[in-house]
Subunit: 210 residues, 4 copies
DNA sequence: GATGAATGAGAATTCATTCAT
DNA sequence: TATGAATGAATTCTCATTCAT
């Protein structure tokens, strides 16, 4: 476990320290919920957390550092997803399991949409720290999905790509405020249903190959 | 007809002015090709364009402003996409048309990946200018895809959502450096094929409903 | 006559040139009517005059230069004041003449309040060009008023100071937007009457000496 | 009780902070004692105070802000004036009290001539912050003078205007470097005497009405 | 005469970061 | 632990000014 419970001064963090650290993280998240994190400053975060910038530096080395901590924290919830995925999806319960999977995934993202938007944007722009983290954090999920596709469509030669296409869509639709898509005729619920439908289509093994 | 050709000083732009404006846009794009645009500065752009920051401000009001101009310019290429989409896709040529569509879309994104990554990230973060622009710029494409889905699957009640799910994926996979996905076992080509396969699956009308 | 009708390029000004010059002056005045002239810029003036900064420099060397030209122009109206002052004020017509004088002075200032506020502020802050100009432009008026005081109060030993005190007040009250005094219970008319009353008091020779 | 002692970073100001703030104010005043404040820059002030511009911005938001603080501070001395004015001026001591009043007023203005010149110029140009401040800061004085005029001349219908005319003159003559008047034949002393003489004339109740 | 175009120079402003208490 | 205080180092931004057409 990497978190040694030390602050940036190398001191062991006590109860107060942990509380302050959390307060700073929450302040940062709150500030970027409805705004770009591009312009987030240490002073802003400190002020939002009702503390001083000096205190900020006791717990984090810079803005990226807090954000990464937030992503790490959010990621722990993501592990639950594997509960559904590690089960066996047979033809009989497939529809149900797909539904469970999509719902669970969407629910978690909704709770942590800010953190995961940060993770994806940083990773997409090539930030190595976040790139690596995303890789590790999605590896199991993606592999599991790949297997399910391979199992459902033994004939296909790139189950990974097929899984990735839908997974990518799911991640993005989950993380983005759906008003941001600018379509007034859709709702999150309809999108989720479409998502499920496409997974089912893919996993039911029907459809033409190219 | 573009808007009045005035620079930020209210002067009509002549030949020299238009050239300088373009030079600055190119400099900006060049600088963020392999890096985040988060930290792009006016000074950097001006220097890359071998001019002064003052000159920068003759043509753009800030960094966002140049980037938006770049997006606007890139977007003009996107219109070509409608050539394929405005045709009729019947069962006979469907595979061919899907392939054309995906290839054309991916090709354009490859050429303008920087601009469109900027557009999407800004829009995803709620920047209204980019949000509005993306909405307008993708409206026709999305509507057209929706129609094709509706035609292929008359039974479905939300063709729009189904189209959006795949379109979203396509956009993201196109804009992102595929190394950023962190999967070494896939290639752009494989992803494109999977993309086509999924569109075909959707448009061939087979598969279960939820 | 110093105005040689040459522009800053040493060219003789033709009709068009004179018109443009005037247009720039008017633009400058218009811009500072309700605002401080401290922040007036060449670009603003040029834009307000619907021309370019380059053209500005054909006629004026800098902002102070236009403002000085405006003051010079306004000052020509001030000469009229001497009409009333050069007359003889005897006991019989004194009230009438004082009234004429105050009214005339106030009227002119009202018309040129912007120019004269500039003149006084610059002079008050020690700007030599405006200081010298004000000195010359008020000399005759002040001397004339001094004489009238001396005549009315032969016993006083500093008629100049007495005249200056009231003249100073008159200048300031005339130049300042009376709302700026922040008293809602007074009007310009009441102030003018008080002004006349005080001049009469002074010139009627009554009152105690210190 | 002044307003909350917070600097522009929202920190409580301690001893050191208050000293630095004062040092910056003094630097600003020193720099404009013999020059226009129009061109005063943050860089200049910071340098004169032997600190950095960043430090300047810890305590003030811009040049106007320091100057306003200076005016506020100077204004506290002005309260003394009310000592003389709140007394009763009867016929017997009137000459003495007028003399005291004018001398006291002039003395204070001499000490704070820079601050008060700034206050008046900004207010005269319509700067709301200074306008409001001047209004409040002179209200008591003006009202008191009005009462004395009303008492001395029960017949007059606008004691306020009469008081304002002389008060205005006093303020301006006090704040302006008297060389700026450009009259070599007068001295501050003579002007003060004339000032007193006119107040006495007004308050002795003699003289004609218009 | 007029005006696009370009820029040097400097001013304002921000911000991360350190240090002493 | 926490935080006032101070600042270096950029960065943004403005403006007067010049030049070529």
């Amino acid at each position: 476990m990497e978190r040694e419970l030390l602050n940036k001064h190398g001191q062991k963090m006590g109860r107060k320290g942990l509380i302050m650290r959390k307060r700073i993280m929450d302040a940062a998240l709150g500030l970027i919920r409805d705004a770009s994190y591009k312009d987030l400053t240490v002073a802003e975060v400190a002020s939002e957390a009702s503390t001083s910038t000096s205190t900020f530096y006791v717990y984090f080395s810079d803005i990226e550092d807090v954000l990464f901590a937030c992503v790490e924290e959010a990621d722990q919830d993501l592990n639950q997803i594997m509960d559904v995925l590690s089960q066996d999806w047979c033809a009989e319960n497939r529809a149900e399991k797909v539904s469970e999977f999509v719902d669970a995934y969407m629910k978690i993202w909704k709770k942590h949409s800010v953190e995961l938007r940060v993770r994806n944007q940083e990773a997409d722009q090539g930030n190595p720290r976040f790139l690596q983290y995303r890789l590790e954090s999605t590896r199991d999920i993606i592999e599991s999905l790949e297997q399910k596709v391979a199992q459902a469509r033994p004939d296909t030669d790139n189950p990974l790509s097929l899984a990735l296409v839908l997974f990518t869509s799911m991640e993005r639709l989950a993380g983005v405020n759906y008003r941001a898509i600018g379509q007034t005729r859709i709702s999150r619920k309809k999108l989720n249903n479409a998502m499920k439908e496409l997974w089912l289509m893919l996993l039911s093994g029907s459809g033409n190959s190219v």
